[in-house]
Symmetry: D2
Amino acid sequence: MQQITMMLAVSALLSGTIAAIAQAPSWTVPSESQRCPSKWGTGDERGSGNHMKPQAVLNAIKLIKTGEVIELGQQLGGGMPFFGTRRFDIHLKRTFMNAGTNERGSNEEMVLSEIGQVGTQLDGFAHQSHRNSHYNCFKTEEISTRSGFTKLGVQNVGAFITRGVLIDVAGFKGVEMLGDSYEITVADIEGALKKQETSLQPGDAVIINTGWGKLYGKDNARFVKSCPGIGVKAAEWLVSKDPILLGSDNWPVEVAPNPDPQISLPVHQIALVVNGVHLLEQLKLDELAAKQVYEFAFMMQPLKIQGATGSTVAPIAVR
Amino acid sequence: MQQITMMLAVSALLSGTIAAIAQAPSWTVPSESQRCPSKWGTGDERGSGNHMKPQAVLNAIKLIKTGEVIELGQQLGGGMPFFGTRRFDIHLKRTFMNAGTNERGSNEEMVLSEIGQVGTQLDGFAHQSHRNSHYNCFKTEEISTRSGFTKLGVQNVGAFITRGVLIDVAGFKGVEMLGDSYEITVADIEGALKKQETSLQPGDAVIINTGWGKLYGKDNARFVKSCPGIGVKAAEWLVSKDPILLGSDNWPVEVAPNPDPQISLPVHQIALVVNGVHLLEQLKLDELAAKQVYEFAFMMQPLKIQGATGSTVAPIAVR
Amino acid sequence: MQQITMMLAVSALLSGTIAAIAQAPSWTVPSESQRCPSKWGTGDERGSGNHMKPQAVLNAIKLIKTGEVIELGQQLGGGMPFFGTRRFDIHLKRTFMNAGTNERGSNEEMVLSEIGQVGTQLDGFAHQSHRNSHYNCFKTEEISTRSGFTKLGVQNVGAFITRGVLIDVAGFKGVEMLGDSYEITVADIEGALKKQETSLQPGDAVIINTGWGKLYGKDNARFVKSCPGIGVKAAEWLVSKDPILLGSDNWPVEVAPNPDPQISLPVHQIALVVNGVHLLEQLKLDELAAKQVYEFAFMMQPLKIQGATGSTVAPIAVR
Amino acid sequence: MQQITMMLAVSALLSGTIAAIAQAPSWTVPSESQRCPSKWGTGDERGSGNHMKPQAVLNAIKLIKTGEVIELGQQLGGGMPFFGTRRFDIHLKRTFMNAGTNERGSNEEMVLSEIGQVGTQLDGFAHQSHRNSHYNCFKTEEISTRSGFTKLGVQNVGAFITRGVLIDVAGFKGVEMLGDSYEITVADIEGALKKQETSLQPGDAVIINTGWGKLYGKDNARFVKSCPGIGVKAAEWLVSKDPILLGSDNWPVEVAPNPDPQISLPVHQIALVVNGVHLLEQLKLDELAAKQVYEFAFMMQPLKIQGATGSTVAPIAVR
């Protein structure tokens, strides 16, 4: 017994030491008591979507001078990249000739897809959790069913019309495209805003150009393998500006993989879980950046899919 | 032999007479030479979508005074009506716990649906034909593949921001809901516009309230069985005003079945095939009509599904 | 305080009494220590499928005299009944004309279905659990992934060729069809076997005719609403005879709802979870019963779907 | 005018000469009058399936000596090869805990797949045509609907129990696997049969081992890119022996591409269209060949999918 006790004691000592020497993760999720209820109130499901008010619409349209519309959505179909095993399969049905002297032919297609998580997509708050805890501490097991979520569904989002700001980090760094897993820092963000003479306001749709979108539909394997994007610090800085969403032309908005190999897509939790701020992925930003449009009316209409984790979207910038 | 010849002769005579007495259809599709090329030009795929120009945007936002957004899209999910055997099936996948100290849980769903033809939906020009001939005389067999159309796909539509006009025919007739297969006439349209003191302009999104939308999600069987809507004459009158689209709160925009039992949904051909004018079905108009909003900024963002016949949408009215 | 204390005490007393008077469930799942490991051994995934040995095949084919094949599988397609929200949707693709002077046309269809749980179907052991514990105490959370189970998948089943026995309970009771929620008892089973002069042997495919299959495709609403079938006692009796499977012409093999309103489909747990005996549902038994075929060679080939909970099948009786 | 006439004449002469020099296709589809009605009679939908009679069953089971079952079906799931854009996607639903004191957990999966054309698959007669003409001259446009075929559907096939013959061509040639696009000749077939001392009888399930199946799940890209298999001559020779089906371990049974670059998979038309003989693809033959089982009881149970072009199957050899 003494021998075993000795061995256990030594073993524990060694484990403790090894643990102490091992890197602590660079970021941890705040506790539930720290983050719930959210600033929008107990039971709130809309998070940053609460910024949508008539005044936001008026402020946005003030920015429209010429009526030019710049499409920010990628096309859905063959050639698009997929993260993991996702699909966007279209099956065009056989043509149906209706009865009637007007010989009316009808066509339609069956679409099989993770429609909330493909192409240019808005992430809702059911999409991510910390353990079983979502935004505003809704619990996965309490709100999930086989056909969707009973809380936090994307049908709650509604249309966004708000001031949009492009932070062209690639432009600021003088490159077409940031490096394969370059972490955008607070200094990058501040530097780009300063160079652009743009400032952030609460309720903004904050959109970051990494240039990574150039690979979309051209080199999909590389596009999904990794990407440049905001890191934890930049995300926390941006979230503190109280945006309605953070968006980018890469697939997760944030840098992937995270420089800290112990943590997996932490910005998804910072935005969606901790702060209830939407993420908007896989935007098409080449035209916006080339035209140096840094401030614009941002408009987006997520599909009202009951209980869904997100929605593919076709947003626009108008100026 | 003589007897048989006699019988055949008499039979032929009778058939001819019967045919002559039988009703000729009340409407026929114009010939190809009459309708092609369309007014937008040979090879044009966008039809009325060509109305989308910067000036249309500017004209539309002039109508925005308070910034109030009225959602015109129905929700997608359980309880929605389907025409025919269409589906909107959502399968929420099992939660995936990602590796990493931040214990990030991920959720997403598989959606199986005729996503171009469910809920509030925009019909594109691949959706309908006369025999094998579509808008601008594209031929079905030449442009169809198993995974979509190579011409006329809904990805060509793009965002619409334009003046929207509500023609509240139910309101004009002093009812909540028009009759189960009531045909809206030119007199109804003109009367409602006059009462509302609204006029139509080229490029308008013309939206007709029948009140039928009240049945959506409440009595789906009745909703899809038949419906009130514009007839051939009203459709031709409206199309002559050069709108960007015709929309309604029923499932086909037009009256169904058509009062002429020989023809099947002729307005679909008048709009989509003959004139290249989009149709927008299953709108949610109760709020717009209740608030008596007859003129507004109309905004819609169809999904950019390559080669699709249409897109479900979540459009809005802004004032 | 005294008053509240008094009230709480009385309340507690009453609750205790009410609880004592309330019915205890008529059956409970044996504990893990009682049922695991199964008689087939620790880590076994095949359960009763272990009965498939060459001798079983030889014994079965000895029963084949004329070579007559009686199909026991229902058709899959329109008109079939579904339990819950299950589907069997077929989408025939557009015909594809291959290049080549031989002008070869190709056709195929996309099928969207819970293919393990529709039509005549074999239940595997991943399909059911007690809390999180399956057959042989495999744990749901340890063996489930988004694309299937890593243990207990139906691909482990393999072909069955074995002696089959029909227990025609409806015939024994002198009716075409047993009552809507009639519970088949041990006496019914024994009586039918005696009348038929049939005995059970280990490894048998034991098939019970309730007559309920007559409603399949004819009155699907009634077919799925409830059904006659074996109850707990009959199931335990049958399982003690060591069959390879229990099958029936209804949708759950057992009586539904169970006469004890507190328990939900207990025979599913008795067979699949506790004893590792397969269930075979929605058989077509009218011909077998009409021809009074009580003993036959039973043959079934489940699809080898990796990690699936079951498989639709097209089994046969041969004599 | 004279000059143009001259030019046209010269041009015509040249074209004629060029055409005459160009290779005529090595095989053409017999005319409808030559092949319809089929030998099974006008309106017959079953083709070679008509060989299934009680005597075939008796003859087959005579071959069973030990009761050994050899599985001939490949598994369905991740890692399987697909020809073209076909899928076999499994989505395991979230576990559902049923109400009840017995805490019954339920699991099932949604499968999205061209289930008639994946894995080990039986081709039915709706699958292929010459222009619009199928087996027994059924016309595609007359028998096709959006949800399946009204004639020739695989639900007509029924179970097969018949004598099976393995023609091990790879074994005959002394190789593990024939060349990437090696055409199996009549001499190969006859040589192998002679070496094996096997003969063919009407109604046989004739199965050819190319060894190509070794690539299944191992090198799927190569597996589907091309393959060795029977050519036109061998196919015609085999069909003349009146088999119930021709099967192989490659994906089309025949050599692909065909040595004549002008024709596309002609054996599909020889078998399915001209002669109404089923094809059975992607068999797993390694065990059968290794054990040198040349004659056996062949058993197969296609799913009874109404109106489908084929069915995935899990057939067996029994001896």
